[in-house]
């Protein structure tokens, strides 16, 4: 298992500094967009709620669509680039060093999971920092959220953000696993990325809260209401998707399948 961990560390280096810089820049721009696009923001709470789209909305104008999609597009792009370089082009050199195809896959999945945790931790810190810089106070002033003010203090708002982060991470990781699986089936660059982006767009246009990519509209999960538990259902369903995808990925780790991929 030590070799697997060593291999994961090696794979994590495939996420280049340049792509991290671009991601941070995109996240800052996205936060600044929230600050300037939405009118009437007075507090950090208002800004964060609007930024992540925690309000139930029937439709998103084009600009907001891009705004919501941006971080996920970056993750999907970075994952695609990772698959192309670390999974595909380096396979001959890394498999021979680890010798077991299942350990090799596990190392990749571990690296991708760590990348997702890092990305969303960074994203939440950046958004938090930008909003703190632009606004003060943790209470709702916007008319839209007045109904929730009574039962959402600062502590439970942080808990809400934690739940949101978990949903975002799990939902996105599920799509990354799908991206990896599609790569194993198609072995063509860009196909899995396009499919994942289309899934996100479909989720923005239509309401499919529990489908893959449903986390892009957190407004569907009534996170302000602690008793609702809709998010628990989402986490359970997405975990189920992840397990199915992991099963399918491991089923691919046979020499017969690798033969088709890397032959």
């Amino acid at each position: 298992m030590r070799q697997v961990w060593n291999q994961s560390k090696y794979y994590l280096l495939h996420f280049s500094v340049k792509s991290w810089i671009f991601s941070v820049a995109a996240l800052v721009l996205s936060a600044l967009f929230t600050v300037t696009y939405f009118k009437g923001i007075q507090t950090v709470t208002d800004a964060v709620v609007l930024h992540y789209g925690l309000y139930p909305a029937k439709q998103f104008p084009f600009l907001l669509m891009v705004h919501h999609l941006l971080p996920y597009l970056f993750i999907a792009y970075m994952s695609e680039s990772y698959i192309e370089h670390a999974v595909k082009r380096n396979a001959y050199y890394t498999i021979l060093r680890i010798k077991d195809a299942k350990h090799w896959l596990f190392a990749h999945i571990q690296a991708l999971l760590i990348f997702h945790v890092m990305f969303f931790t960074a994203a939440h810190f950046i958004v938090g920092f930008c909003m703190e810089w632009a606004f003060n106070g943790y209470h709702f002033t916007l008319q839209t959220f007045e109904v929730h003010i009574t039962n959402l203090d600062s502590a439970s708002f942080k808990k809400l953000l934690l739940i949101l982060g978990l949903m975002q991470m799990l939902g996105t990781f599920c799509l990354t696993l799908l991206q990896l699986l599609l790569h194993f089936y198609t072995n063509k660059t860009g196909v899995s990325y396009t499919i994942v982006v289309l899934l996100y767009v479909v989720n923005l246009v239509l309401d499919v809260p529990f489908g893959p990519g449903g986390h892009i509209k957190p407004g569907n999960f009534d996170l302000f209401n602690e008793a609702s538990g809709t998010w628990v259902k989402f986490v359970a369903i997405q975990s189920g998707y992840c397990l199915v995808l992991l099963f399918l990925l491991y089923a691919n780790m046979k020499r017969k399948k690798l033969d088709k991929l890397y032959g």
Binding site: Q3, H85, Y92, L96, R97, I98, A101, R255
Partner: protein, 225 residues
Amino acid sequence: MDDSFREGKAVELAIEVKGLAKSFKHEMVLQDVNLHLYQGKCYGFVGRNGSGKSVFFKLICGFLLPDKGTVRIFGKELGKDMDFATDTGVVIEHPGFMLDFSGFQNLNYLAAIRNVIRKEQIYQAITAVGLDPENRKKVKSYSVGMKQRLAIAQAIMEEPRILILDEPMNGLDKSGVLQIRELLKSKISEGVTILMSSHIAEDIQQLCDEVFEFDNGSLKPLQFV
């Protein structure tokens, strides 16, 4: 005299190939290939483009699954006793080096996977292929020849007993070719088994103990004059 005895000493059988066959979409690439490859010898594989050299190497490594036949490496059967070739260094296609790191950093991170060699050995491998391990230049600014040298360094750094080199002299200048030839000669004398393909007749003539030609899916021994 049996191949397994040289100078009165028993030589270990490194690779045993029996009845190996491989086809892609009904096109037979290899059929009924039988070979005994011994430790400390260099074997050359020649043939026109697409004749099956790379496919043969990938079969030996375990990256491809044969339609028929078996490959044994030091007595262990691929696909039965192990998934992939053990104790083997390869240069097959271009390694996906991390472009933003130096040559040494790339090999250091790659070596950390198995963690069986020290930094000095990585330095030695890089020096042996004619690169400077202290050079902090990023791999993205390397020439084709430098990348090829680095690929050879990653194949030899963990001192494997088998080297599989698909066109190792590709992209190398004249001095590079001479340097790699000397390196491979020293590896052979250390007891490493080398399987290499090359379009350069001189490489094959100078390095290889035996040469095989791929022709219409079969492998024929070739005599050099």
